[in-house]
């Protein structure tokens, strides 16, 4: 139980810091932790990760909004797109093997990192 509590704290701390500091969901830490370390199956890891992201994003939004870093017009457009996309994506999840998806995503993130550096 004690060891589990340490993992809970670590998963929360990692995901929370990444989300608050960089605006990245934290799912990138939570899903492997929930699936790999805390032994949830993949679907439950996705669902539980999303549930944890709700309060993380709520607090993050609040702090950024208080600082004046949230433009609600962008939120409306990006949000509309991403909510639609999430529903589509959840259905597509079954169609493409996860490893292929991760390869595409891996190449994509490295390319974006390079562009951000070289800009």
């Amino acid at each position: 139980m004690q060891r589990k509590a340490v993992w809970y704290l670590t998963a929360g701390a990692g995901a929370g810091t990444l989300a608050g500091f960089l605006g990245i969901g934290g799912g990138i830490i939570l899903v492997p932790m929930l699936a790999g370390v805390l032994c949830l199956n993949q679907h439950r890891a996705h669902g539980t990760s999303l549930a944890i992201i709700i309060p993380i994003a709520m607090v993050g939004t609040l702090v950024y909004a208080l600082r004046g870093d949230v433009n609600w017009e962008w939120v409306a457009t990006i949000g509309a797109g991403s909510v639609t996309g999430a529903v589509v994506g959840a259905k597509l999840m079954m169609k493409l093997p996860a490893y292929r998806l991760r390869q595409i995503f891996g190449v994509y993130t490295i390319a974006i990192a390079a562009i951000l550096f070289l800009r």
Partner: protein, 132 residues
């Protein structure tokens, strides 16, 4: 900043891509939404992260609800992880306000690099493939 029709179309496309990926991989769309806004829409890094977090809130609400109805949310575990997640999110969000946009972009790029390399190296690992 004035938002043109073209910007709205780009923003919708960025959001859509972020959402599809987040639905498929179970990750928040921030890795797509933030660079999308910074590179394609010229939004400042802090502002892009703020918008990404708010959009993420919407996506996570919808996604968690769908998963919850399929009984794929382990609430007892979420309850245990959430407190430290919230505390550190608060801390991180506050810390982001302390650094310049240039530095924040650099750290963001490094994080992407680490995440991407890890994804490639472990793409055939157990998670995801073993979905039951």
């Amino acid at each position: 900043m004035d938002i043109t029709i073209g910007d709205i179309v780009i923003a919708l496309a960025v959001g859509l891509t972020a959402g599809v990926l987040s639905g498929m991989l179970g990750i928040g769309g921030g890795t797509v939404a933030v660079p999308g806004m910074v590179l394609l829409l010229g939004v400042e890094q802090h502002a892009a992260q703020g918008v990404a977090l708010s959009a993420m809130l919407l996506t996570a609400l919808v996604g968690a609800f769908i998963h919850y109805r399929q009984e794929n949310v382990k609430l007892s575990m979420a309850m245990w992880i959430a407190p430290s997640a919230v505390a550190f999110s608060l801390l991180g969000a506050w810390a982001a306000g302390m650094v310049t946009a240039e530095w924040l972009t650099r750290v963001f790029a490094i994080a992407l690099l680490v995440i991407g390399s890890r994804m490639l190296l472990f793409s055939r690992g157990g998670q995801g493939v073993t979905a039951s």
